[in-house]
Amino acid sequence: MAKLIKNQQIIDDTWQVLALDAEADAAGVTVPAGQWLVPLAVWQAQPALAARGDVAPLLDGADDPAALADQLATLPLVAVNFPKFVDGRGYSIATLLRSRYGYTGELRAVGDVLRDQFNAYFRCGFDALSPAAGKYTDAQLEAALASLADFTEPYQASIAHRDPLFRRHHRSAA
């Protein structure tokens, strides 16, 4: 079973991603039983999914997180897809969900999620990281937990550090 880092612990990942072909009909696709992350188009086309409790929306880089603004309080989780780790749109989406839209539930990074970006994910508000299945051995993933804390006192305000360094600490004159 794939592994998930949640709240800095490694746990089994019980959710799966529902892949949708470009031509597929978002309204017609069947979401089977079990826990599924579904593309925003499916989530929006099938309002009944919201009542299931075991289906959650998966935002892509081009999606507008505002689309979920009214539902955030009731979602089991929100996932953000990183198709490639160098596609940084998900960091802004996460930041917006946590700040502008006040989302407090599980925020999960899925896709090309690599340990060298764990710290940035964490600081942008992700509390769940789902590297691709098989990407890391258990031992590698254990070692990778250290990357969450690559930078302990970053300069900027972010989701993890509400205030920038100059407001968090007194910095004496150089």
Partner: protein
């Protein structure tokens, strides 16, 4: 200069540890080439023709003597005894072994230096005026604001993987010496009618494949809002900049596609949520950083030093050097000195380990222990007593750092080009040298007057050829190296892009073509008119006519043999 506190130091140390671990995993095969590439780039490591190239950050061009000595040590120990100052005020080493780079970064960290975000699709080293703090035309010292931006942009978690690289420049003087309108964000320090300090904001400037002059999106952002406003720009860009085509991924393409007004509206809408939030700057933080940039302890001196005046009158070579390489200073009795890295036969911007040590000694002896790097690839001692200029000149001459050519045709701005760079279409250093050799007569050079010649080995435009009065661009045609020439570009307040004069030339013809352009200028110039002004007055046509005559491009090629 800014000095690290424990927090700054810890971040840099943590970066060394992080990159050391990443490089170990790469060398052990745990990290793939594709996974490692962006990580090494964000630490300034390119894989080049001969070896990795390491680009070290020189924040807004400022260095202390101990840092310059460290660069000398690195050049000597890990490289081939020289380094290269780039057009973004950074230092590049062309020959380090990948395995040694974590160690080099560790050494740099001991003198408060690093290679963070000197490449990659992230916010790069902030650049500024090399005469900040000493120029007579300065309204506001840009350096504290550069440092504030440096800290904000360093390891910003949201903006580490932008669509493309992102460059910010700050100017605080009447004359723009930071080419702010050729940057993704250009910031001009201004004061509004109420006397408040703030920034005029330009976005979407840049050279490269699609050269565009930046457009103004705000006439005034008050200083407390600098970071939230930049954050709004970056967020709009990060979300909506193109990622499907790396050649269309810079913010300038987004600004152009939306139009400056629509882009500004998006930024303002985003900013409305961020304004007055936690990232709003505090007076205490600005004061803390500004305290690092107060004037040094200048002695009270007469406006003109009698010994200096006498030496100018008696010594012609010294006077020639002073005319070109010494600049007026805001403080009576002081001057700023440009040490030329444009000696004929040496690649523009290159400096040896011994010269670096010498520059560090000069800094300690003559200029309060500080040095600046210019984007024209020279080195500045900003605070020299007039009474020391003669001694400095003699020592600089001995070190090969006193070529009296600053601002003249042979003060060529030039990228490393095909000799080193993987991206280059053509060599650029030999072109620079061939032009320097052609114009080796100093009196003639001075008669031609101020003229900026910029050479880029490819359209990425590291040599900023678009804004050279004369620009030379290396192009590839059927696997042969050719050179396209533009005239009429300029940096500064009236920044403009040069116009191509016609079909390109073989390397051997470039000095002739430059000479023809110069002769055309001399034939047409009004008294005291600079080359660039003549070009703008009479247009490109007379130059074109002189270079190509009635030849068609095909005939020209035959004529070239």
């Amino acid at each position: 200069m800014y000095r690290y506190d424990a927090y700054d130091q810890k971040l840099v140390d943590e970066r060394v540890a992080q990159f050391t671990n990443q490089t170990e995993r790469y060398l052990a095969g745990e990290l793939s080439e594709d996974e490692y590439r962006p990580l090494r780039l964000q630490n300034g490591v390119y894989i080049q023709k001969h070896a990795p190239m390491l680009r070290i950050a020189v924040p807004y061009g400022n260095l202390r003597a101990d840092q310059v000595r460290k660069l000398a040590h690195i050049a000597r120990t890990y490289d081939k005894g020289y380094g290269h100052f780039s057009t973004r005020q950074n230092m590049q080493f062309n020959w380090p072994r990948l395995e040694t780079i974590p160690t080099i970064l560790g050494e740099l960290a001991t003198v408060q230096m690093h290679a963070i975000q000197t490449s990659g699709n992230c916010i790069r080293n902030v650049t500024s005026d090399p005469f900040a703090g000493v120029a007579a035309d300065e309204r506001v010292d840009p350096r504290p604001w550069c440092e504030i931006l440096r800290q904000w942009s360093t390891f910003h978690p949201e903006f580490a993987f932008l669509p493309r690289k992102f460059k910010i420049a700050v100017n605080g003087a009447a004359d723009d010496r930071a080419v702010i309108r050729a940057h993704d964000i250009g910031l001009e320090l201004v004061t509004n009618a109420a006397g408040e300090l703030g920034f005029r904001v330009f976005v979407g400037g840049g050279l490269g494949r699609t050269p565009i002059i930046g457009q103004e999106i705000s006439t005034f952002v008050a200083w407390p809002h600098l970071l939230t406003y930049c954050e709004a720009i970056l967020r709009v860009y990060n979300r909506f900049g193109r990622r499907d085509n790396m050649y269309k991924a810079r913010i300038k393409i987004l600004v152009k596609a939306l139009g400056a007004e629509a882009f500004r509206d998006q930024v303002e809408a985003e900013w409305a949520h961020l304004k007055d939030g936690p990232a709003t700057l505090t007076q205490a933080e600005v004061d803390r950083i500004a305290a690092c940039f107060v004037d040094p302890d200048y002695a009270a001196l007469p406006a003109t030093d009698a010994g200096y005046t006498a030496a100018l009158a008696e010594n012609k070579p010294f006077a020639a050097w002073a005319k070109r390489n010494v600049r007026a200073h805001k403080q009576p009795g002081f001057a700023s000195v440009v040490l030329s890295l444009k000696k004929t036969g040496i690649a523009p911007g290159d400096i040896t380990d011994g010269q670096l040590d010498t520059v560090a000694d000069f800094a300690d002896r003559f200029s309060f222990g500080e040095v600046r790097v210019t984007h024209e690839q020279n080195v500045v001692l900003a605070d020299v007593r007039q009474s020391d200029l003669f001694a400095l000149w003699q020592a600089a001459r001995d070190a090969g750092l006193a070529t009296p050519n600053i601002g003249l045709l042979t003060d060529i701005v030039c990228c490393p080009g095909g000799d080193f760079c993987n991206l280059a279409n053509a060599k650029s250093i030999p072109i620079a040298e061939s032009v320097q050799r052609r114009f080796d007569d100093l009196d003639y050079l001075h008669d031609i007057g101020e003229l900026e010649l910029n050479i880029s080995g490819c359209m990425n435009a590291c040599g900023h050829h678009h804004v050279g009065h004369i620009g030379i661009l290396g192009v590839d045609k059927n696997n042969e190296e050719w050179y396209q020439i533009t005239i009429g570009g300029r940096q500064g307040n009236d920044a403009s892009l040069g116009k191509v004069i016609g079909p390109s030339f073989a390397a051997a013809d470039v000095p002739d073509v430059i000479e023809t352009l110069i002769n055309t200028y001399i034939a047409h110039r009004h008294e005291d008119e600079l080359f660039i002004d003549t070009v703008h007055r009479i247009g490109v046509e007379p130059f074109k006519q002189a270079v190509y005559g009635d030849k068609t491009p095909a005939q020209r090629k035959v004529a070239n043999g």
